[in-house]
């Protein structure tokens, strides 16, 4: 699991500096709520998210979920005290872990608390992550009835030997049925794919992309596999049992994805995200990239409000204990200074289709722009016409390098 970053001490009552609250008040950037559900039936070999099996928690299901729901309720109440309740919530995202380890009723209850405390803005986006094998049609109906508008399925791959390496348990053949059921319930559908898994050929990846497109989702995310320290996969790679992902292979697969998705009528709107229409974008995730405010509730969840970032205690028990003691569950926080805000603005906006306004690039970085255009990483026409720094397809693959150039690092 990733270590939490180092940060400053967070106040026990969760209070935010007045400047952060002043930035939050007016409502010119969206307000999201992220609910982290830290449970999984099994832990996949590649996954380093903050999630636990019931065995790891040494609790039975009812006890674990009961403790969890009580604690999240307490945290949302704390959030309402800190932020006030004058703003409505624009987006809600229930992620994990496996949110669908909770029953649709429980997820509905969580969503109900958000509505109760702040209310949802008209047309609010409410997403839930789901494993294709952890939901069925009645569950999807119940979620839709509870107010969920969008489901993001962890498809990862359509190729059995690739799923096996990832230790994903679902049957790829089941996917079209589940997706159809979701659509029938009026839910928008997104599919998550992973490329670069050890043993995956370019043809395998094409198979997965084509299978995903055949399901006609509204939205597709495709991520290069990262072998995270501390995972079983990392150990297998270290022992030489699995090959290390090759960046050139990943580049080929990214280009293939962009090509196939584009010709199927999708367009990128962030480095790893494509949609069929602008309306199908994940507005919650756009909040992350555009500097929006969000409160992340749940163990290990990260939050950002008005230039302050903080993160909760990781373990569900530590998290719940703090809230039971009437304290903020934040483990630490950072109040971003001007340089850090500029760095974040550059590194986040550059990932989006709308790109980075040229005005946000300081003189040190402007000198690098001509070279970046010449090397084919930044779209020259956009730069001239719209005064925005937008990555080309080649540039998207080198986004981090472009960021260092733009910041003069």
């Amino acid at each position: 699991m990733p270590q939490l970053p180092d940060g400053d001490l967070a106040p026990l009552d969760g209070a935010l500096p007045p400047a952060a609250l002043d930035a939050f008040e007016p409502g010119d950037s969206p307000f999201g709520v992220y609910l982290h559900v830290p449970f999984c039936r099994v832990r996949c070999g590649y996954c380093d998210f903050n999630t636990y099996t019931l065995g790891e928690l040494d609790q039975d299901g009812a006890q674990a979920t009961g403790d969890y729901l009580r604690a999240v309720r307490a945290e949302l109440e704390l959030a309402a005290r800190v932020l006030g309740t004058s703003r409505r919530v624009d987006t809600v995202f229930m992620g994990g872990g496996t949110p669908t380890m909770l029953s649709p009723q429980m997820l509905g209850e969580l969503l109900g608390w958000v509505e109760e405390l702040w209310g949802l803005a008209p047309g609010a986006e409410v997403s839930v992550e789901a494993n294709p094998d952890s939901v069925d049609e009645p569950a999807l109906q119940a979620l839709a009835a509870a107010g969920v508008t969008r489901v993001s399925f962890g498809m990862q791959s359509a190729v059995p030997h690739v799923l096996e390496v990832l230790e994903r348990t679902h049957d790829p053949a089941r996917l079209p049925t589940v997706i159809q059921a979701a659509r029938d319930c009026g839910l928008a559908v997104s599919l998550d794919l992973i490329y670069g898994t050890p043993g995956e050929s370019l043809a395998d990846w094409r198979t997965s992309l084509e299978a995903a497109l055949a399901c006609e989702p509204d939205h597709i995310s495709a991520y290069a596999l990262v072998v995270e320290e501390g995972t079983r996969l990392a150990a297998q790679v270290r022992r030489g049992e699995r090959s290390r992902p090759d960046p050139d292979d990943e580049a080929d697969k990214y280009l293939l994805a962009d090509e196939l998705l584009t010709s199927a009528g999708f367009a990128w709107y962030e480095v790893s995200n494509w949609t069929r229409s602008e309306a199908a974008r994940s507005r919650h995730n756009e909040g992350y990239w555009l500097g929006g405010h969000w409160w992340g509730a749940g163990p290990g969840a990260h939050s950002h409000v008005g230039g302050v970032r903080w993160w909760n205690a990781k373990h569900p028990r530590a998290y719940a204990a703090r809230l039971a003691a009437g304290q903020s569950p934040a483990a630490a926080r950072e109040v971003l200074d001007a340089d850090q805000r500029r760095d974040e603005l550059v590194l986040l906006r550059i990932r989006t289709r709308e790109g980075l306004p040229l005005d946000a690039v300081e003189p040190a970085g402007r000198g690098a722009l001509a070279g970046l255009v010449a090397d084919g990483l930044v779209d020259g026409a956009h730069l001239l016409r719209a005064r925005r720094v937008v990555l080309t397809r080649k540039g998207r693959l080198l986004a981090d390098l472009v960021v260092r150039n733009l910041l003069g690092y």
């Binding site: 990733p2 970053p5 480095v271 992350y288 990260h302 993160w311 090397d375 080198l398 690092y409």
Partner: protein, 635 residues
């Protein structure tokens, strides 16, 4: 003088308790007849136990209290103690009674490495006898053999001694045969000792008294003393170690150095026992130290003759030589802002190292540094290590190279100590230094050693069996080959059993070229090397391959080329990086990503730009360390 009367020891705060009652009578300096003096040294390979034996002698003769005893008492520097080797020699005066007569034994410690052959020769010249100490489990090593020959050339009486007889693996009979064969004695004459347990040490002291001739000199002649070591001490300035040949030296006299004609007042004179003890002077055959207040060992050079300024000797003692650097390397601070500190550190080290020379140098790739000259590779490594350890500097050293004498077709002569000085025009002749090398090894490795030496342009001069299964091979080799990676290869091809010694043996004409390494068309001066024409391709391929591994992929393709002049002899490509992007960037990823960026910003300071190519400092270090350290001391 000539008075044989024994005086009681000088009172000290706490009377040391000699282990042997035979060390109670202490003869006083300046009042000891030459007949009562024995000057000897110990010749041994690095880990054959010389220092342990010396320690035991100090204890038995009572000059070191048991309580104060620490392993390798005579080796002062940390590096020496850690490596178990002696770099700076010292001389200790030991009392010893033999057959009821008190004697003075001056034990002169000699440095044990090939780079310091000249210092060894001066130490030997201060003695009449040498203990040839050999590990009874390992037999003689090349270095010891070289020093043994040196001692025999100086007409020293050799006392063969097998050490570590307490070891289960000891084979004293076998190695006694070997020693007897080398020095022409009877195997039964080899003494057997254990420095560790002390067994056999007292009989050894008796043998030294019995066998080593006493010094002979003219007490009434003008003073002549030979400097065999010179050490800088922060508090006292330079401490000079001398052996008096003729006449005597007395406190407050004005002395003269015969090579430089410089004169100094003698502020202090004394003997080491084993801490400095002032004396009323030093007479014929005596060994001791002088302090004149000079601050630089260059003013008190090893091999020079000290005389009385008012009543100078007419001729100096023979054998003085200016130290001559044989190996050059560029030393650069990893952090460019440490350059002034490096200069200061070198200035300080120089005070204690007459052989170290340096001058400022600029490298396009490495920035500001110094081109330094050393006696050899160990000397280089010691200096580098002291700079890093004592002065807290992080350094890069460039590939060591030797001195070339280049004659151009128009008759112009150029001395090249740095590949960048190698001329590009019409070269008539290049001369390179050569060495006479001695290699000792088990005979099963003869083939492997011959193969290695041939590959290193060596010429076999002769071969002798020391015993049934041990052989001595003599080669002429270019010094440049030894400097490169010879010693490591020798060790790896002989599973560590071979030992090597060499001495300079003039120079030879050689077909040498300069190989440049280019990154994206730009020469990286730090990687240029002067190599034999037949080795140029190999060097080019090796370096290009190595850099390909070490330099991270860049935004654009980076060709790496090895070239002789304008001719490309090897080529590699670092393909352009195609993917450098974090796949996911959601809630918690943002802080991590920003922190990574901040770290990369710091890392950028450790990048050197070669044209548009970013080369990490680590790549320079790894490429220049050439995957081996040819400079490891012999073990």
């Amino acid at each position: 003088m000539g008075d044989c009367e024994a005086e009681p020891p000088l009172p000290t705060a706490e009377e040391p308790k000699p282990l042997s009652p035979r060390a109670r009578t202490v003869l006083q300096p300046h009042a000891t007849p030459p007949e009562a003096i024995r000057n000897f040294c110990i010749i041994a390979h690095i880990d054959h136990g010389k220092s342990t034996l010396a320690d035991r002698m100090l204890q038995i003769t009572g000059v070191v209290d048991d309580r104060l005893m620490r392993a390798q008492y005579l080796d002062r520097m940390d590096i020496e103690r850690e490596r178990g080797i002696t770099i700076k020699s010292q001389a200790v005066r030991l009392p010893w009674e033999s057959g009821g007569t008190p004697f003075v034994l001056n034990m002169i410690d000699t440095p044990g490495h090939v780079d310091f052959t000249y210092e060894v020769s001066r130490s030997l010249a201060a003695c009449e006898g040498a203990v040839l100490l050999v590990d009874a489990a390992q037999g003689i090593e090349a270095q010891t053999l070289a020093n043994l020959y040196l001692a025999m050339e100086n007409d020293l009486t050799i006392i063969p001694v097998l050490n570590k007889i307490d070891l289960p693996a000891a084979q004293p009979e076998k190695y006694a045969e070997e020693l007897a064969g080398l020095i022409g004695c009877d195997p039964a004459d080899c003494l057997r000792v254990s420095g560790k347990t002390g067994a056999g040490v007292e009989p050894l002291l008796d043998e030294i008294v019995r066998q080593v001739p006493h010094p002979v000199g003219d007490p009434s002649a003008p003073a002549r003393a030979m400097i065999f070591d010179s050490v800088y001490d922060t508090y006292r300035g330079v401490v000079t170690y001398v052996r008096v040949i003729d006449g005597d030296l007395n406190p407050r006299e004005r002395i003269a150095m015969m090579s430089t004609k410089a004169t100094h007042e003698l502020l202090e004179i004394g003997v080491i026992s084993p801490e400095p003890v002032t004396s009323k002077g030093l007479g014929v055959g005596e060994v001791g130290y002088l302090i004149t207040g000079v601050k630089d060992v260059r003013q008190s050079r090893v091999g020079d003759t000290v005389t009385n300024s008012a009543k100078p000797a007419s001729a100096a003692l023979g054998g003085y030589r200016d130290p001559k650097p044989m190996v050059f390397s560029g030393l650069y601070p990893i952090d460019g802002s440490d350059y002034p500190d490096l200069r200061e550190a070198l200035d300080k080290l120089k005070l204690n190292d007459a052989a170290l020379v340096y001058e400022p140098e600029t490298s396009a790739a490495l920035g500001f540094g110094f081109r330094c000259g050393f006696l050899g590779l160990l000397h280089l490594e010691i200096v580098r290590e002291r700079l890093e350890r004592e002065f807290n500097l992080d350094l890069i050293s460039t590939q060591p190279n030797v001195v070339y004498e280049v004659t151009m077709e128009d008759g112009k002569e150029i001395t090249v100590t740095n590949p960048s000085e190698f001329p590009g025009g019409k070269v008539a002749e290049v001369r390179e230094p050569i060495v006479r090398a001695t290699i000792l090894a088990p005979s099963e490795f003869i083939g492997a050693i011959m193969e290695l030496c041939q590959g290193k342009r060596g010429t076999l001069r002769g071969m002798d069996y020391l015993s049934e299964d041990r052989v001595e091979m003599r080669y002429t080799l270019p010094l440049a080959e030894i400097v490169f990676d010879f010693f490591d290869q020798l060790k790896s091809r002989t599973r560590g059993y071979a030992s090597l010694d060499y001495e300079m043996d003039g120079d030879q004409d050689a077909d040498l070229v300069k190989v440049d390494i280019l990154l994206q068309g730009e020469t990286v001066d730090a990687f240029s090397a002067i190599v034999h024409k037949d080795r140029a391709y190999g060097y080019g391929v090796m370096m290009a391959g190595k850099l390909k591994e070490l330099i991270p992929r860049q935004q654009f393709e980076v060709p790496i080329q090895a070239a002789i002049g304008s001719r490309i002899i090897a080529r590699e490509n670092i393909r352009a990086i195609r993917k450098d992007v974090l796949a996911k960037c959601y809630g918690g990823d943002i802080t991590r990503k920003r922190k990574l960026l901040e770290k990369q910003k710091e890392g950028k300071k450790r990048m050197k730009m070669v044209g548009r190519v970013e080369v990490p400092q680590e790549a320079f270090i790894a490429a220049l360390s050439s995957g081996e350290s040819p400079t490891k001391p012999q073990k």
